[in-house]
């Protein structure tokens, strides 16, 4: 591949030495200002003066220096842009010019006189080339025009179009992505199209006069801008562990919130679902840590604001994984940082609308046994124990035939309660536009999610709005950013005496037997406790929450006049959040078979409302400068940040409603209750960062945060967190050139970092003494009186503690930049945990926990992660395949809150152990005969053991099985290895994105109903539970059936590894298949630049041992007491105007 290095200079972005330049004329300033105003109000770019720009524009140049410096000067005075090939053009020649009020032609004539350079002006683009190479062959007229679009059908503005091996012929695309080139003198010309952020493409012109070219985004391009803490950087220059998520790939994924879309999409990011359900969030972890902090548009934000983001608004998202990247956030950054930048405007106008309709169904929802099966089974079991049959043959026959449905019902609760497919819809509208001076982005999104409950009493809705506006006063060097971000999310879910949420309702859908009735003959809800139909009925009550947030932010950036590279920034945001709930607890009336109304349950109403105000202010100074033609590159940041929050909440309640009106005033006034509270919190920090690189070859960077938190007593509030990192771009060394030229290894960078971030795991104001008041403590003489309690002992010796984080890694790309990847090893050592010594030693008689102090506890987490991707094309077929993998494990090296007695027990202790599930007995299968039941040691408390019961191992060999034999069992419940495997394919208008995601081994403990056990007797719910031990089924999944689980002293159901199920899985997480009708059918419709239809699916299939028990490995409950994980099918329409 013939690689061209193309340098595009933009006046504003230039980092070259400007030399001596004269001031702009008054005329020019006026013109620019007028234009800017026009852009601001019309928001349309109009190239009215374009054709004559080169003639109209007059330049003033009076300087001595290199040609390069002169060109820079021209660029800074005008809108001209120079395009040239670095290896062809030598701009280091010294020249001396003194020109006043000359046109560009006149200037270049003088400048390039006697130099071996020619030029060609196309509008504002000037191509420089080696003069003697210009061919003078005579060929027929051939003007080629074309349009350059990106993957999404958006025009690529300012892309370079050069002719291969032909110096001096080239142009750039206009606002509509169009270009026009005169190729008349050329023999079989080949166009080379390039643009930053895109893969350079070569196109054979042949006989075509019109070309439509799609530029492929070059996601692994090293120059990709990455948002980091308090700034940005390029991938090439990163010395720390930062991975990015491609937000575009999440666009059509049918998920309720951004957390659900993240799994498998970035190295180091571990996302685990905890079941389905409306507004349910996935757990996000960076390298196995706890919930990370989130930074949105430069400000540390509430995690909830991240969850509720409109994912279409995300321009880029970075994951700061090591201390080198995260230390600038100090003591809050212990679990890593998610940095999100939202979209901004662009020149011109673009309107994007997308509509997404999806339908979901449970990934796994095991069908239950019906009445006939249950009744037959009842008799089988009773027969086993020599008991009278529970059901007569006639009764069983009635269950089988359904001939007497009200006395012998066969209720399919799942069918009665649940939809087959649950709809969700999403509308997104985004308008981007602006001018050179002013750019804006406005978006709106509406999301509507329904529930699996047929009753339609549960739903979730969210509305997002965002406005980002940037104004640039170029002559002042001032950039102002304003942003407004808001959302309202509302959810309603049923409430009744029987249920306060999924745990109960899903429990009842499962646990209600088929022999129970849902409705009576008149279709009224049948009486009986825990009837799930009543729970979700529209006649029952509801719980409604309403979460409203609005954040405004501003940022002013000023390029300090006269000091190249120095920038002063002042920014701030203000967030107002409101959270309201209303709970109308009412139970739908229920009726017996005769139509008699069942009992009325008490009805109550409760409101809670809380609001909070938070603000952050930031003052920063940045200095970025390159010296000696990018030999020495320096970047520094210094700043101060502080934030404060205040909140207030109220609640009010009335009970025992007589009038069924869900309003406070309608309730009995003698049952009024209310409460309220206020709180505040504050934090502040000084941030410093400096980095230096030599020729982009040797990098060194350091950062520091002096961080303050009000969690600690006054003299212990401030902490210092630092990091240092270094990198070596080996591929930039001269000895590497042969490898590079042969495309064996195009790029290789080695990185290493070390640093400290903080943890502050302590409750608020624990350094102050306080007694607690219980409002309704006790009853004296029939009156409720308050009572006091002593608060916790004062912890006045507490402060932040630290995570020492080391990261070593490398980034590479090879085979002509087609294969790229990176690898990191990380090691985090957390020391100095705050803990009460009562957790370790015996201090029980104190009666309270000893105050928290810093301990010498040490926790280690280490692991590795890598990603690989292969990106290429074959003709119009573009493809990218890749994978990422993150593995970690952790252990407590020095215990800080484990009891000493436990620590001394090598079989029980948690210290010095990598992941395990917990403690319990170790099973050895089933007793298969009475000899075994008599001769093997038996658990203390187990009795009446027979064949088919579980044998436990006498771990310590003392002949007894008791608490001392409960050793560590199983594997960690949080998966240690997580991976994603993806493929992104496109061919002309077609595109496909495939993502597999998975997790390695982890243990899940299955609970009583799934075990087929309940305190009341055996509970057979599912067909797979019929695989229980029998003399002819000795290798069964479940132990023998007993009439009552306590019949053998609960032998089979004590905690043991018998009931652990491996929850490892791999699933087709996301599949998208799209077609853009614009590519063929609607090609000629000018006002439409995109008309794409995407079919997608989420969680389409899963392979996991857990499915043997009928549930998804990511379900929220191993007893199915939760809304199940969903498989989603969706269709999206994306229109661009």
């Amino acid at each position: 591949m013939n690689k061209h290095l193309i340098r595009v200079f933009h006046g504003v972005k230039s980092s070259m030495n400007e030399g001596n330049i004269s001031h702009k004329t008054r005329d020019q300033v006026l013109k620019v200002t007028k234009l800017a105003l026009l852009f601001l109000f019309v928001c349309l770019w109009e190239a009215t003066a374009a054709l004559s720009y080169s003639q109209v524009t007059k330049l003033n140049l009076e300087m001595n220096g290199t040609i390069l410096q002169v060109l820079n000067s021209i660029e800074s005075q005008s809108e001209f842009t120079f395009v040239y090939k670095l290896n062809e053009v030598n701009l280091d020649e010294k020249v001396s010019v003194d020109l006043k009020n000359k046109s560009i032609d006149e200037v270049l004539e003088v400048l390039l006189r006697n130099k071996s350079l020619g030029y060609k002006i196309t509008d504002r683009h000037i191509v420089l080339f080696k003069k003697e190479e210009v061919k003078q062959q005579s060929q027929p007229n051939m003007i080629v025009t074309g349009t350059i679009l990106d993957d999404f059908g958006e025009p690529v503005i300012g892309a370079n179009v050069l002719v291969k091996d032909q110096a001096g012929i080239g142009t750039t695309t206009d606002m509509n992505g169009k270009f026009s080139l005169d190729l008349r003198d050329l023999k079989s010309p080949v166009l080379v199209i390039s643009f930053i952020g895109y893969t350079t493409q070569e196109v054979v012109v042949g006989n075509k006069t019109t070309l439509n070219i799609t530029l492929k985004e070059d996601s692994k391009a090293l120059e990709e801008v990455v948002v980091i803490g308090y700034g940005t950087n390029s991938k090439r220059n990163l010395t720390s562990a930062v991975s990015t998520v491609n937000a575009e790939k999440m666009k059509n994924v049918p998920v309720a919130n951004v957390t659900d879309a993240l799994a498998g999409r970035a190295t180091g990011l571990i996302v685990t679902s905890a079941g389905g359900g409306l507004n349910k969030q996935s757990t996000v972890s960076i390298r196995g840590g706890g919930t990370p902090i989130v930074v949105i548009d430069g400000f540390v934000s509430e995690y909830n604001d991240f969850v509720n983001l409109n994912s279409d608004d995300i321009e880029s998202m970075s994951i700061l994984k090591d201390a080198a990247a995260a230390a600038v956030y100090g003591q809050r950054a212990g679990n890593g940082v998610l940095v999100v930048k939202t979209k901004n405007g662009l020149k011109g106008l673009r309107v994007d609308y997308s509509f997404n309709q999806s339908w979901s169904e449970p990934t796994y929802l095991e069908k239950k046994l019906d009445s006939y099966e249950r009744a037959s089974f009842d008799n089988t079991v009773r027969n086993l124990y020599g008991l009278e049959p529970r059901w007569t043959d006639e009764e069983i026959e009635k269950y089988r035939t359904g001939s007497d449905p009200y006395n012998y019902p066969n209720t399919d609760w799942q069918k009665i309660m649940l939809r087959n497919l649950t709809p969700e819809t999403k509308h997104s509208l985004a308008v981007r536009g602006g001018s050179e001076f002013n750019k804006y982005y406005v978006s709106f999104q509406a999301y509507d999610q329904k529930s699996m409950y047929k009753a339609d009493t549960e739903w979730f809705k969210r509305y997002n709005v965002r406005m980002n506006e940037v104004s640039e006063f170029k002559d002042l060097g001032l950039k102002l950013t304003f942003g407004l971000d808001g959302y309202i999310s509302t959810m309603q879910t049923p409430r009744s005496q029987y249920s306060t949420g999924y745990w109960q309702t899903w429990g009842h859908i499962q646990n209600q037997g088929p022999m129970g009735l849902a409705y009576n003959k008149d279709g009224q809800i049948y009486v009986g406790y825990d009837n799930p139909v009543a729970e979700v009925s529209s006649e029952s009550g509801y719980f409604k929450f309403d979460n409203k947030m609005i954040t405004g932010l501003f940022n002013a950036e000023w390029n300090v006049y006269g000091v190249e590279g120095l920038k002063v920034k002042v920014g701030g945001n203000y967030r107002f959040g409101m959270y309201d709930t209303k709970e109308w607890n009412k139970t739908a009336p229920q009726y017996d078979l005769e139509g008699n109304k069942g009992p009325d349950f008490p009805v109550s109403l409760q409101y809670t409302t809380s609001n909070n105000r938070m603000w952050t202010m930031q003052y920063f100074v940045d200095y970025n400068r390159s010296f000696l033609d990018e030999t020495h590159n320096v970047s520094t940041t210094l700043g101060y940040e502080q934030s404060y929050a205040f909140g207030r909440g109220f609640d009010a309640k009335r009970k025992n409603y007589v009038f069924m009106i869900d309003q406070m005033g309608a309730g009995p006034s003698d049952t009024m209750e209310n409460g309220g509270n206020e709180w505040e919190r504050g934090s502040a920090g000084l941030v410093a960062r400096a980095s230096y690189n030599y020729k982009k070859k040797y990098y060194i960077e350091g950062s520091l945060r002096h961080d303050g938190s009000d969690l600690f007593p006054k003299d212990r509030r401030w902490g210092n967190f630092f990091s240092g990192s270094a990198a070596w771009a080996v591929s930039e060394e001269s000895f590497f050139r042969p490898l590079k030229e042969r495309n064996i290894l195009n790029f290789l960078k080695l990185r290493a970092s070390y640093g400290q971030v903080g943890m502050a795991d302590v409750s608020r104001f624990s350094y102050l003494t306080s007694y607690g008041l219980t409002e309704r403590g006790y009853v004296l003489d029939g009156k409720i009186v308050p009572t006091f309690s002593e608060g916790a002992l004062i912890s006045d010796d507490i402060t932040w503690y630290t995570i020492n984080s080391t990261d070593i890694g490398f980034d590479f790309n090879t085979l002509g930049e087609r294969l790229s990847g990176s690898f990191d090893y990380f090691y985090m050592k957390t020391t100095g945990f705050l803990t009460s010594p009562s957790n370790v030693g015996y201090a029980d008689p104190l009666g309270l926990s000893l105050p928290k102090v810093k301990s010498n506890g040490e926790h280690r987490r280490a692991g590795y992660e890598f990603n690989l991707s292969w990106k290429d094309h074959a003709g119009d077929f573009n493809y990218e395949v890749g994978a990422n993998f993150t593995y970690f494990d952790q252990l407590v090296a020095v215990a800080w809150d484990e009891d000493l007695a436990n620590q001394k027990n090598p079989y029980l202790r948690a210290v010095q152990q990598t992941g395990y599930y917990g403690t319990g007995y170790t099973n050895q299968g089933y007793y298969q005969n009475s000899d075994q039941t008599l001769n093997l040691p038996r658990r203390d408390g187990s009795s009446n053991l027979v064949a088919g019961d579980i044998i436990y191992k006498d771990m310590n060999g003392d002949g007894f099985i008791d608490g001392a034999d409960q050793w560590r069992i199983g594997k960690n419940s949080f998966p240690r290895g997580n991976y994603g495997i993806y493929a992104n394919l496109s061919y002309k208008g077609f595109s496909a994105n495939i993502l597999f995601q998975g997790a390695t081994s982890r243990d899940m403990y299955i609970e009583d109903v799934v075990r087929g056990q309940s305190t009341g007797g055996y509970t057979m719910v599912y067909p797979y539970q019929l695989d229980y031990w029998m003399p002819d089924n000795t290798n069964a999944k479940f132990p023998r059936i007993a009439m009552n689980s306590s019949v053998n002293g609960n032998n089979n159901y004590v905690t043991s590894d018998f009931w652990l199920v491996n929850g490892r899985y791999i699933r087709l997480k996301s599949l998208q298949f799209g077609y853009d009708f614009r590519s063929v059918l609607l090609k000629n419709i000018k006002w439409l630049y995109k008309c794409q239809v995407v079919l997608s699916g989420q969680n389409l299939f899963t392979i996991s041992p857990a499915t043997k028990y009928g549930f998804d490995p990511e379900n929220g409950s191993t007893n199915n007491y939760d809304y199940p994980m969903q498989r989603v099918y969706a269709i999206s329409l994306n229109l661009g105007f």
């Binding site: 009735l517 009486v527 009992p599 502080q642 008041l773 004296l780 009572t787 201090a843 029980d844 019949v1047």
Partner: protein
């Protein structure tokens, strides 16, 4: 804009921002410091009240039901529990060792009351507070003493500094004598300064005496030194005698329900207000109410149908039901002799019922025939429920729901296919009693019925005059056995509860043995569901002899191994049988006398602090 101006503006902004306020000086908005709490009597009282609540709840609610199911008085409808089969181990001790948080509260009262004397508290205030602190400390430790016999005695507020040189590795008391000495000393120290006239629910001098009468009795049972034993027995009697102003309530049942919550008999009760109490928070209410409805009745051919509440007056979450064994203790007035006798020995019963021992009636279903101990058929048109349940001890009617009674305005049929029959829902199992009896004692008349989520007032009777009298009676019997005093005094006391509460004729007793028998029957009937019988059986086992069916002291206790029984009455009420409750192995009952008199000190705790050992014998 001039450079200078911009720089000045920026610097100004920066300064303003940094200096505007110190965002780190935040504070909690609602706090109560030590001086606020201890600086006045009313706030200090609120601390004491909180401590009363913490300590005294340990005597009630679930405790009444769980300790009762560990005796022959009650069975759990799901099946027998591991405890009665000796299936607990030394790790899962049930003795409640520790509770140091509440010990700290008691000590804090004692110390702060002293410290703040003259600083908001008067001498009298201080004395009152200290007395209450000591009383609560004694009552807290008594709960540990009666389960494990030993505890960790902490008599001051410990500070973090006390961790130095292993100061927190405190030992347990070595003997029950040592334990009870601490407790009784605290009680004696508290009594003089305790108030005599108090609000319902508050600590009083009477309450301290009432507890002392029982604590001294329990202490004496575990005491091996005869002189000490006598001393404590006498202390028990003295304490009982010191109770002033209390009297036996004339309507026994009303003491425990909404009709007489402030009865003159109640010495201490814990009250609940419906403002923050629902029926489901009260175990002896919610968990003794059966659960069925008319549809179940129809489906299973049972009746009569319920008339109220849409056919669903009974939708509780029953776990516990009383046994026939307990019911047997409530005498019937013999129509011939006018004296109370066991129901199956009354003249009216004998004359009208043919009793057959050891075999089952033909109407009993095959699978249950082996359960039958004896059965009977009436002669003529006599009904069995009338013969069994008429003219009984008045406490029987206040304690049980039985066949033929009215409950919640419904006619209750506890016959085969009756409306609250044990198998009315199709089989034995959760939420229906296994015995064809239900608890009525302690069940409030909640409007419209006992239903989860329904607000109700409630009161748990912790101690009362009847209990104090019986404590005294037992002390007298012990002393009589040791040659001091006269058992007749005990008989007289038993006749007080028997006549006033039971409305039975006084009983004539002619020997110490008979006196014990009478007393044992009286105590079991009088104090059922009041968290008493379990501890009383232990005392009787320690005493042995007459107190324990002739078994030597420290032997097996028959009361723990008796097989619970139920009654099954044919639906024509002409025939009945009494059978063993075998559901869920309820009939398997064991008692290991080598260890069960004291429960284990949780081994996990001894592993942490060896000074808590040695482990109690047998564990």
């Amino acid at each position: 804009m001039k450079l200078k101006n911009i720089v000045s503006l920026a610097s100004l902004l920066l300064l303003l921002g940094v200096a505007s306020c110190n965002v780190l000086d935040t504070q909690p908005f609602e706090t109560y410091d030590e001086a606020t709490v201890w600086g006045s009597k009313s706030t200090a009282d609120a601390f004491v009240t909180g401590t009363i609540s913490n300590v005294m709840y340990g005597y009630v609610n679930g405790n009444q039901t769980t300790w009762e199911e560990r005796t022959g008085n009650a069975v759990h409808s799901n099946g027998g529990i591991g405890f009665v089969r000796e299936q607990m181990d030394r790790y899962s001790g049930d003795g409640g060792l520790g509770d140091f948080g509440n010990i700290r509260r008691c000590n804090l009262i004692i110390e702060k009351a002293t410290e703040y004397t003259g600083q908001g508290l008067s001498d009298a205030d201080s004395k009152d507070l200290i007395a209450k602190g000591k009383l609560l400390r004694a009552l807290l430790y008594y709960r540990q003493a009666r389960t494990m016999g030993r505890f960790v005695w902490v008599d001051r507020v410990l500070a973090p500094a006390d961790t130095a040189s292993n100061g927190m590795m405190m030992p347990t008391t070595k003997t029950t004598t040592e334990s009870y000495t601490y407790i009784l000393n605290d009680l004696d120290a508290a009594i003089p300064d305790l108030p005599t006239s108090v609000k319902a629910g508050e600590l009083s001098r009477n309450m301290a005496y009432a507890f002392k009468s029982e604590i001294a009795l329990q202490a004496a049972a575990y005491e091996t030194d005869a002189a000490k034993k006598k001393e404590w027995l006498k202390a028990s009697i003295a304490a009982a005698d010191a109770v002033e102003g209390a009297s036996l309530g004339t309507s026994y049942g009303n003491i425990f329900n909404e009709k007489d919550p402030y009865s003159s008999e109640i010495i201490f009760a814990i009250y609940r207000d419906k403002a923050n109490t629902n029926t489901d928070a009260i175990a002896p209410l919610q968990n003794v109410m059966p659960n069925t409805n008319n549809d179940n009745l129809v489906k299973n051919g049972c009746g009569p149908l319920f008339q109220t509440n849409g056919g669903q007056p009974f939708i509780g979450w029953l776990w516990w039901a009383p046994t026939q064994n307990l019911v047997d203790g409530y005498d019937v007035i013999d129509e011939a002799i006018g004296q109370g006798v066991v129901w199956y020995e009354s003249t009216q019963f004998k004359n009208n019922v043919t009793l057959v021992q050891g075999s089952a009636p033909d109407w009993a279903i095959d699978q249950e025939k082996a359960e039958v101990l004896f059965y009977g058929n009436t002669k003529g048109d006599k009904l069995i429920n009338e013969l069994m349940y008429s003219n009984r001890d008045a406490r029987f009617y206040d304690t049980f729901v039985y066949d033929g009674t009215t409950w919640w305005n419904e006619d209750i049929h506890l016959t085969v296919n009756g409306n609250l029959w044990r198998k009315v829902n199709g089989g034995l199992g959760p939420h229906m009693g296994l015995t064809n009896y239900y608890w009525r004692k302690g069940v409030y008349n909640v409007e419209p019925r006992v239903l989860a989520g329904t607000p109700t007032n409630y009161h748990y009777v912790v101690t009362r005059y009847g209990r104090v009298l019986l404590n005294k009676a037992e002390a007298i019997l012990w002393l009589a056995g040791m040659g001091e005093g006269n058992y007749a005094d005990a008989v007289a006391i038993c006749n007080q509860t028997r006549t006033v509460h039971g409305k039975l004729p006084a009983k004539q007793v002619n020997s110490l043995e008979e006196a014990w028998k009478f007393y044992k029957q009286e105590r079991r009937c009088e104090l059922t569901m009041e968290n008493d019988y379990y501890w009383t059986l232990l005392r009787w086992g320690k005493h042995g002899g007459y107190a324990n069916n002739g078994v030597a002291p420290g032997g097996k206790i028959a009361g723990f191994t008796e097989i619970p029984t139920y009654v099954e009455i044919k639906n024509d009420r002409k025939s009945f049988y009494v059978g063993k409750v075998t559901h869920g192995d309820n009939d398997i009952r064991e008692f290991r006398e080598d260890r069960r008199y004291l429960l284990p000190i949780p081994q996990g705790q001894i592993d942490r602090n060896a000074n808590l050992g040695p482990q109690n014998p047998g564990w």
